[in-house]
Symmetry: C2
Subunit: 393 residues, 2 copies
């Protein structure tokens, strides 16, 4: 058992986002800059004070262009994390490491894209060049069998969960209903004012069995930025400090990109288990200490597996844990109180970090009482990350 | 003035490389795995003990494939750094941060490619798709004017150095002569046994004026891995611990990718200056403490600028500092004692980190006496990195 020593020494002091849309009408660089500037404004610092940036390898906006656009003279940290949506909480971890070890004073973690009006990630890999690299060659194991889209990959796991644990499509639907109920209260959400019923979910068209349309997240244009600094500096800024109590990356056991089909079991997310172990060890907390969580929901089935990996319930018990609105506001563990990626926006999970911050600050549109410790997770089925955010006591 | 608190807490304990060739005859993944396994063997640990990986965004071998190939069950750190050759020392910094903060026990930094038999980076960007992203759009400022290759970009800076400081092509040649003299003693070097004279340099064909062929680094197939752990663990392993005394990243003032042409001055490398300041502050050392350095040498002119940015001499004085063999073995500051990227291999600077380790261990083919502190730098003209390696006292 080891604790990460940067934990508790860094805090989130600003969050900033663009509007979430289907057609932003402007460049991805502009989206990123708007989000970064908004995060600085939220904290009450000048963008020129920023000296570190952390983002995804998939990000098209290089740190040098962010630097120029924000009017930053110098960066002493610029990190990236691979594997698409798995990275959001890792960007926070790296920012925390950089400020806690004295490398940078203010680090922005950012992600921005035109994922609806530009390149649509969910559209599949059939057009992906068959390059002779380890990165590309892996698709040869699955693409010839028609498994070409993220939805098709996740469907394999969902099918096995149904077979092994007796999970039903209605159980998956409970996640969508919760997300959309929360989004309905959130003016920033694409699906503001548009809750759904379980029947809506059941009646939505198949994307690929057993996944209905409403099991799948949106496609979004937008940007989100999160500003991190030391706890000491945080206390002098505009917002209450939101402490980074723990953070973790995880990659496990015969990992593939959303296609870890060759493991002994297909019903867990061992890479998220790796994160969970580190989060609990470092924070000294347990599931009972957490009253709300932001669980990555590009597809509903993996929300169940995350509840199990973090020990909110036993293996195979998530469907029962979620029953009776337990993951909705007012329940045992309201999940994705911003509406999640199904309800608010799909921003590779960065908007979920922002919601974690709002819950700790007490400013969520679906505020949970005593949300002193909020768990946020990164993308599922891929090498991933998680973070525990907490109040400054 | 601030010190990085991970410094002094992490050490390099293993280095491993493939042969350096022009046609490896095997995949980039295989090269990476061979190098990683060799680094573990050098340290006397099992590859399965590794739980962190750090590499370049340009690396084609994803961490998940390295994990599988090495027989690793779980990773708790997997980081990348953007901007090509600027990253080598940053991979070491991230590894040091991860082990010093308790995130991982053993982190391998790696880089492997078939850069001669496969994709040749120096061949130019004329075939690069004109994507509507900030990453691609930047080429629009220079490509229409025929500035299509790294050599053409560096030639602009070299020309200005000649104009402003009176540097001559023969001064650039002094770097090539030193590198090739050192490589001539190095059986691992491509140019083993093939020293050159300044006349050879002057008589080599133009690549683009004022750069001769012998001002430009090689193209190489190969892999290099560097294993990092805590100083405590390091002391129980096979090799003497090589302490990471300081490490830094730097991006500065209107940074572009090798094309920072819009700065007030074209004769410095302010991003390397950013690294230098951090390296000296964190290590508590100064230029006089350093008896040998590995300075990134994809093109000779920027070696001069690095000597000045680190304060080994004043601005514009590098040509005089280098005179009389001062950067060759036996001189004031032997540079690139492995032969550098001009003489040994072009591996995005990772082989330079390995040479820094050998100098501290006392096992270089061109060993420098009292090499207790060895400076290693990353790619020049791009956002970059540096590391100071030292003996365990």
């Amino acid at each position: 058992m080891s604790k990460h020593t940067y934990a508790g020494k860094a805090a989130i002091v600003g969050i900033g986002a663009t509007e979430f849309s289907k057609d932003s009408g402007r460049s991805e660089l502009r989206l990123a800059l708007e989000a970064c500037a908004a995060a600085c404004d939220d904290a009450g610092i000048s963008p020129s004070q920023v000296d570190g940036l952390s983002t995804f390898t998939m990000e098209t906006n290089p740190e040098s262009e962010i630097m120029r656009g924000l009017g930053i003279d110098e960066l002493t940290h610029f990190s990236r994390i691979h594997f698409g949506g798995g990275a959001p909480c890792a960007t926070i971890q790296y920012a925390a490491m950089a400020v806690a070890t004295g490398v940078s004073d203010y680090v922005i973690a950012y992600r921005a894209f035109n994922e609806r009006s530009g390149r649509r990630f969910g559209a599949g890999v059939q057009d992906r060049p068959a390059g002779a690299t380890a990165e590309e060659a892996q698709f040869a194991w699955t693409s010839p069998f028609g498994l070409l889209t993220p939805a098709s990959w996740v469907a394999m796991f969902a099918t096995r969960m149904m077979h092994e644990y007796g999970v039903t499509s209605r159980d998956f639907g409970a996640v969508a209903v919760a997300d959309r109920r929360h989004a309905a209260n959130n003016p920033a959400a694409h699906f503001y004012g548009q809750p759904i019923t379980i029947d809506d979910h059941q009646n939505s068209r198949w994307i690929i069995e057993p996944l209905h349309l409403l099991d799948c997240c949106q496609e979004t244009d937008g940007g989100q930025a999160i500003l991190v600094t030391s706890v000491e500096r945080a206390r002098d800024l505009k917002q209450p400090a939101v402490i980074i109590e723990a953070a973790a990356q995880g990659m496990a056991d015969d990992q593939q990109m959303m296609r870890s089909f060759f493991r002994d079991s297909l019903v867990g997310l061992p890479e998220m288990g790796t994160c969970a172990r580190q989060i609990w060890e470092t924070s000294g907390l347990g599931p009972d200490d957490v009253k709300t969580a932001v669980l990555y929901d590009h597809f509903t089935p993996f929300v169940l597996a995350q509840l199990e990996e973090f020990g909110f319930c036993g293996r195979g018990e998530a469907k029962d844990f979620m029953a009776n609105g337990n993951i909705e506001i007012g329940g045992r563990l309201p999940v994705n109180t911003h509406g999640g990626q199904l309800g608010e926006a799909y921003l590779h999970g960065m908007n979920g970090v922002a919601e974690g911050v709002r819950q700790v600050r007490g400013t969520s549109v679906n505020q949970v009482e005593r949300a002193e410790h909020v768990l946020v997770t990164g993308g599922t089925g891929v090498p991933t990350s998680a973070v525990m955010l907490g109040a400054d006591r």
